[in-house]
Symmetry: C2
Subunit: 350 residues, 2 copies
């Protein structure tokens, strides 16, 4: 069922007006604000049709119409055109993201912050998926008898460390040997190709008794495996309280409650990313609207994400969560620009 041109314009106008005013929009106000060359009665017919098709709905009999989830979906898929940012908007974002930061994590955080500031909504970032990054260096440093520090330097400028317990009687010299052997054999390997076996084989030509060795290697292995754990960072949650859409408090609580479970949110972002990969995404962004979001309490939200890249093989996500009654075009263009800048800056770190 294809919408004719005018109906498309009507839907578009309804979304635009509703986003701008937060009031159900009626046929008459539609005529006033947009110059349709027809009468309000005609629009009423169109609106009845749009409602029958599920694109709009009315909160109650005597009110105007508001877009349904499907309506928003149609809007973002085929009706809206993405704006370009003004010089000033670009500058504001640019000046916040670029700078003299040497750690990728800081850069990503500052991009997240900028994104929340620029949109006025909740922003988030996922840490890079490091399974595909490779080990540039690995060192095991003795801290004190029984305790050592595993330091991993990964491609794309990421460093991870972990304190591990080791047998008490291992000496500095032994540890240097082990560390050297592991480093020699694992450097250059992608994280997801490193298994416990790989690690154990890596150190087999040291002449350390295998009992001792095993435990150290096991700890080194877990440190490596922990390095690619995903983490999520959220910012600007409180901004949602400013929107009338969440004035009911119960809704606000559900929303913030769900978001406080960062594991769950991270999982959901991952899912979005995966689905986009499978379906051969054509857009630079992924978007979920209202009930499409399976997280509890986000029924009145839209969730927009994009993918940033760190080197050739490693990527992560940034995203925005806002009321589904949002200016999609503005948000998407801002997110896109933030992503672009972030990619550029990340490249400089490589």
């Amino acid at each position: 069922m294809e919408l004719d041109d005018r109906k498309k314009r009507v839907l578009q106008a309804i979304v635009d007006d509703y986003v701008a005013t937060n009031e159900p929009v009626g046929s008459k106000s539609l005529i006033e604000r947009h110059n349709f060359q027809v009468s309000s009665a005609t629009l009423r017919n169109d609106m009845a049709e749009l409602e029958r098709l599920g694109f709009i709905e009315k909160p109650h009999t005597s009110a105007g119409r508001i877009p349904s989830d499907l309506g928003y979906r149609e809007y973002v898929d085929s009706l809206m055109k993405i704006d370009t940012l003004t010089q000033k908007e670009q500058q504001e974002i640019e000046s916040n993201i670029s700078g003299t930061v040497d750690e990728a994590a800081d850069l990503i955080k500052s991009a997240t912050h900028t994104l929340s500031e620029a949109t006025g909504f909740i922003s988030l970032s996922m840490s890079p998926r490091l399974q595909k990054s490779f080990l540039k260096q690995i060192k095991i440093l003795m801290i004190e008898p029984g305790k050592a520090l595993v330091v991993l330097v990964l491609s794309a400028g990421v460093v991870k460390d972990k304190i591990v317990r080791i047998p008490n009687f291992i000496t500095d010299e032994q540890m240097i040997k082990i560390s050297g052997a592991i480093e020699k054999n694992l450097t250059g390997k992608p994280l997801d190709e490193i298994t416990l076996v790989t690690v154990e084989t890596a150190a087999k030509d040291t002449e350390i008794p295998s009992g001792i060795l095993r435990q150290v290697l096991y700890e080194a292995y877990t440190a490596i495996k922990q390095a690619d754990q995903l983490s999520i960072y959220l910012e600007g949650e409180h901004k949602m309280l400013a929107f009338p859409d969440f004035s009911s408090m119960g809704r606000a609580r559900d929303l913030l409650g769900t978001l406080s479970d960062s594991g769950m949110v991270a999982g959901y972002v991952n899912e979005m990313e995966n689905q986009a990969q499978v379906s051969g995404k054509k857009d630079s962004y992924m978007i979920r609207i209202g009930q499409e979001i399976t997280l509890e309490g986000l029924d009145d939200c839209s969730f927009i994400t994009a993918t940033y890249n760190m080197g050739d093989t490693v990527s992560g996500n940034i995203g925005v969560i806002g009321p589904k009654r949002m200016d999609y075009s503005r948000v998407i263009s801002k997110m896109d620009f933030v992503k672009k800048k972030l990619n550029e800056e990340l490249k400089k770190l490589t």
Copy 2:
């Protein structure tokens, strides 16, 4: 002006009832719930007196009384008695905090989480104040030409690292020399005694050209200085939305907005800690009620903190932020127990 015994009981009863019901409490309901051996008229006289003294107030003429900030203050200072936790409550906390964690930061986080769960309020923790910790190890590892990693191992099991830029042409051998020299001379020094001069002198007997050396040392120095930056961790913000005390949305937004500025909150916690030190605190906790809190939007909250210890010289804070209409005794006893457990576990890491 000392309160006589009955007036004390009245104030106590008012606080208790108001905390339990969130309704202004009147003379009659006071008689019903507590067995005062006098009539409601007598209590009315007492209440008038308490109001004159500023301990209680009425929201409007025809309502009961609610405690004022001063009333709560009197309550926590001299009226309440701290409960002891039940076996079950203790176990719940214990099982969450102890465990096999090797990093102090993780331990503190899990204590914070437990604290929020146990109280139902916002909890927070400050990272340990590391100025007084001493350097156990410092290593500078080459990552690639122009880039190095400074790794600091501090007393009390804290590790910090920082990627720094260095002159391109420094060789591995040179770096090992520099690293060794710094380590030899700085190990064992408290962070706050290390200055740029200390660092520069530490490496002066390497035979590296001083131009090159200077930059590396400067970077090492900033890495050290960055290590003791305070950070704050907050959890459970959304829980506040459940309380009728914050149902006005505007208040909720102000509260969460203020809390999202972590630097500001950290500064305030610091201030509380310092004032407690100066005034020779006698309690194991610090408490600020309502308007006593200078942070914007926390007028309806109480802010309770305690100090945890990591070794002899290093300490940090944990705390709870809840509605000032809270069960102080319960919260304080829980926080105290969490702190105790946290201290025990931290000790194990040393």
